[in-house]
């Protein structure tokens, strides 16, 4: 099945480098004038709402609905913030979008700012994207020189500036209120919600935080209409989705597909199947925070609802494939090590729990597990869920629960044999 690319159409253009001239030459900056001249801000919101666009960062919240929460009559300034803090393990689509076609994002940001009434937008780019940040700076400059940013854009009376803001290395700054704290010059510690950013966000003003890929969809929706967009993919998961496929596949990379695709199709038809002809053992479908799936789940649709029903989640769209040389206890150790490192430390369950989880898994992996450990792990995970300011704690717990659910005998073998069965061999 060939799918008409939307977000990555530029890849079909030979020697495309994403400059503003190239972007315009291939149809860019046509949605913006349409929005400014033909649509009221409320109408843009309506279109995006109707399109069913859901957040592509991990939460999957309906974008237009989020925009609708911005109070129309607040005297405070409104801010649009683009979340380019892509840090979910297994995810590398936003990096591609900003490095290769930055103006798609810029155009999306301008239209979105217009829709919510923002005059100042921020592009929070993770600090490690040094090259990406330069590309974005250049794009913002180009757009400003061309009159797509600044005062009275295209004679519409709408003003907008975009400030690029670099982060400095913290996964938790991908959480929207952690991002706002970081943008305000503080530790990236998420805020209790309510109040939500739409009411009290950046500088306590109404704010919308949207993922890069989400915003890249906006120009296409405005240009081609909500009906066209709804035609892509299943009804509750509309529009094209970028799946980052990595791990033990022949052709790792970003794949733009509708969410009607199945996991099997994604892995075996598009990404070339499991590397070296090995057997698929496990696959994480939505970034490391997503519970693991196995062979029995391969026919699940890659839409939000189906993945949730299968006990996992769509998350960031980061698909990590693991073959039968992989020790799942080691996977648990690596994944828990990540959350241990990234916990901001505010909430007791997360600060202590992510560390405890990691230490126990490391001990089991090194052959010093005790039989009580597995049930303690499960209880620990249960105690870490649903009781913290943000969901990093849940994100740390749920994957481990899933590894124990589907691969418990592997953990038990580690404890029983006092060694890792894959020691000396295996993927790691």
């Amino acid at each position: 099945m060939t799918f008409e690319k939307v977000l990555t159409k530029y890849q079909d253009i030979p020697e495309y480098t994403g400059t503003i001239d190239e972007y315009i030459a291939h149809g860019g900056y046509r949605a913006l004038p349409k929005a400014l001249r033909e649509l009221q801000p409320a109408e843009v919101i309506e279109q995006v709402k109707r399109s069913g666009l859901r957040g592509r960062g991990g939460a999957g919240f309906p974008c237009g609905v989020k925009w609708g929460f911005i109070p129309k009559d607040s005297p405070k300034p409104k801010y649009l913030v683009c979340n380019c803090d892509e840090s979910e393990p297994g995810t590398f689509k936003d990096r591609m979008l900003i490095e290769e076609d930055p103006h798609q994002l810029i155009e999306g940001m301008i239209i979105s700012s217009y829709a919510i009434g923002s005059r100042l937008a921020f592009l929070y780019c993770r600090g490690e994207f040094v090259y990406g940040a330069r590309v974005l700076e250049r794009a913002i400059r180009e757009a400003t020189l061309r009159g797509y940013l600044g005062k009275n854009i295209l004679g519409s009376g709408f003003d907008l500036d975009i400030h690029l803001h670099r982060g400095a290395g913290a996964y938790i700054c991908g959480e929207e209120t952690g991002l706002l704290e970081s943008l305000e010059g503080k530790r990236g510690q998420p805020r209790p919600k309510p109040p939500f950013p739409a009411i009290s966000g950046l500088y306590r003003s109404p704010t919308v935080v949207n993922n890069v890929e989400t915003l890249c969809n906006v120009p296409h929706i405005v240009l081609r209409g909500a009906d066209w967009y709804i035609g892509i993919g299943p009804p509750k998961s509309t529009g094209p989705r970028l799946f980052s496929v990595s791990g033990h596949v022949e052709r790792p990379g970003n794949y733009e597909l509708p969410m009607s695709i199945t996991l099997r199709e994604l892995i075996f038809e598009h990404a070339g199947g499991v590397k070296n002809g090995r057997r698929l053992k496990a696959v994480i479908p939505g970034g490391s925070s997503a519970p693991v799936l196995t062979e029995q789940h391969l026919d699940v649709g890659m839409d939000f609802e189906s993945l949730a029903a299968a006990g996992s989640m769509s998350g960031s769209g980061g698909v990590i494939v693991m073959d039968d040389t992989v020790c799942m206890v080691r996977v648990g150790e690596i994944v828990s090590r990540f959350y241990h490192h990234e916990s901001c430390g505010q909430c007791t369950q997360c600060r202590e729990g992510t560390a405890w989880l990691h230490k126990v898994l490391r001990r089991i992996e090194h052959g010093q597990g005790r039989k009580e450990d597995l049930d303690v792990l499960l209880d620990m995970c249960d105690n870490m869920k649903g009781k913290t300011i943000c969901v990093l704690s849940d994100a740390a717990a749920m994957p481990i629960e899933s590894y124990l659910k589907y691969f418990r005998e592997e953990f038990e073998a580690h404890v029983r044999e006092r060694a890792c069965p894959f020691e000396g061999k295996g993927a790691f």
Binding site: A170, R187, P192, H340, H341, E342, S343, C344, G345, Q346, C347, T348, Q349, R351, E352, G353, T354, A355, W356, K359, V360, R363, R370, E372, D373, V376, N383, G386, K387, T388, I389
Partner: protein, 562 residues
Amino acid sequence: MPTLKIDGVEVTVPTPMSILEVARTLGIEVPHYCYHPGLSVVGQCRLCQVEVERMPKLATACNTMVADGMVVWTHSPKVEKARRAVMEFYLLNHPLDCPVCDKGGECPLQDFTLKYGPGESRFAEEKVQRVKHAVLGPHIVFDAERCILCTRCVRFCHEVPQTGELAVFSRGDRSEITLFPGKVLDNAYSGNVIDLCPVGALTSRQYRFQSRPWDLVRHTDSVCPLCSNGCNVILDVRHRQRGEELLRIRPRENQAVNRWWMCDEGRFTFGYFSDSARLRVPTWREGHPTDAAMAHSPLGPRPVAMGFDDLLLRLARGIRRIVEADGPEAVGCVASSRLANEELFLIRRFFRDILGTPHLDFRVRPVQFQASDASEDGLLRRTDKTANRRGARDLGILPGAGGLDVAGMLAAAANGRLKALFLFEEDLVREYPDRPVREALGRLEILVVSNLLPNETSGLAHVVLPALGFAEKEGSFTNFQGRIQKIHRALTPHVASRSLPEVLRDLARDIGRDLGPIEPARVWEAIGEAPGPYQGIAWKDIGPLGLLPEESREPRAKNKEP
């Protein structure tokens, strides 16, 4: 005005409040660490979670505002399970320091673990190790392993003195509260973090290893005497078997005066109570005082310890002789605004009414001549370093018609017009370094000095009376706002001592007069009768949070407990 149900009790709330605040007013315990009414709300300790019907997750009581129709359960099974889990997480890396930790016995971590936490540990890993007993500043020691990262101390330093010395470094389980390298925790309010810290991470250097809370048997309400703010305090006294001693002063909450705080000076300055140099017995010295003054050492007859009865008889004779020879105007009195209202009232009665001298004053330092006392730091400390300037004013400790102020009395002493001077707790030699105070005082026939510790002025006196400190008296101070606040006896005065009212009563009797009743309640009958700012006030009207005289004129709805 939302009405909600909390643990089955219906309550209507007049102003926007969080669930935790409502629970507190109802006396329902919702355990918590990071919340403190005087600091910003962060909702991060996760201990205060409660169940709210129709909410899918547990709610943090500290930052969830009550709404009409809300139904809250603070001890449901779901809550108890969550609490138990949080307590387990707290204890994972907590060191087993209880035997050597000052907080033991008054520790919310111990208490909540006992009530809500697990009885055994499931943690089989290595605990995170951190610095122990690190001196952060002149008053505070830090045991980082005990810290539960509630951040109360960090928020306090940022929000109250606004000095921001403490901050959380790093993140996750590597988070640690420390100082910037080379800096010191030395703001004037640093001691408050000791009270704020829910565990033994921040402790008092002064109090370290001094006692266990169960040995502190007396917790006496009082008022700090070191400036005119009158911060409300609690005096913690160790019991007699281990040696009765004042070991600790803590602030007592009074929203109108000091909120929840006190400054370090007031908190840590009380060692003088057990100072071995303290004046304990009255002394009498014959002979020319000038010799002793000039030589700066007691040449001539040395002061002799004497019983109060004997000494007061002799003193009475001496005063009577002077009054008969040169009139009451030959006697003067400087009565410090460190003294309590009752003492000052009786002094006035003795000197102005009974003896009949107009020379009475409390104003020694320039700041005391101003109508009102200014703030020193915009927080609690005030520029007048005595507790009762307002009381001294309100009770008329001022010269009468034709009376001399302090400078005048010194001048009159110098030229021989003033023959006898009573100095209650003011060291005039030190207060006036560039005036010939020694010479002036040296010319007096009778110099009576009352003080806690010996000083230059007392060294010149004929009669030295050992004074009692604020923790050894019942009485009241009036703070700069005009609020009358009670002090209570926390320490047993020395066996040989006699309170100032007792001394004045006995002295009056020895000159053939009656001072009247001296117990505070009876003194206030007299104060309340006289015209003036305190008219109509009775001792019982002054509650634990003090009394502003204008409040007493209105129906007695004030003076409630918090």
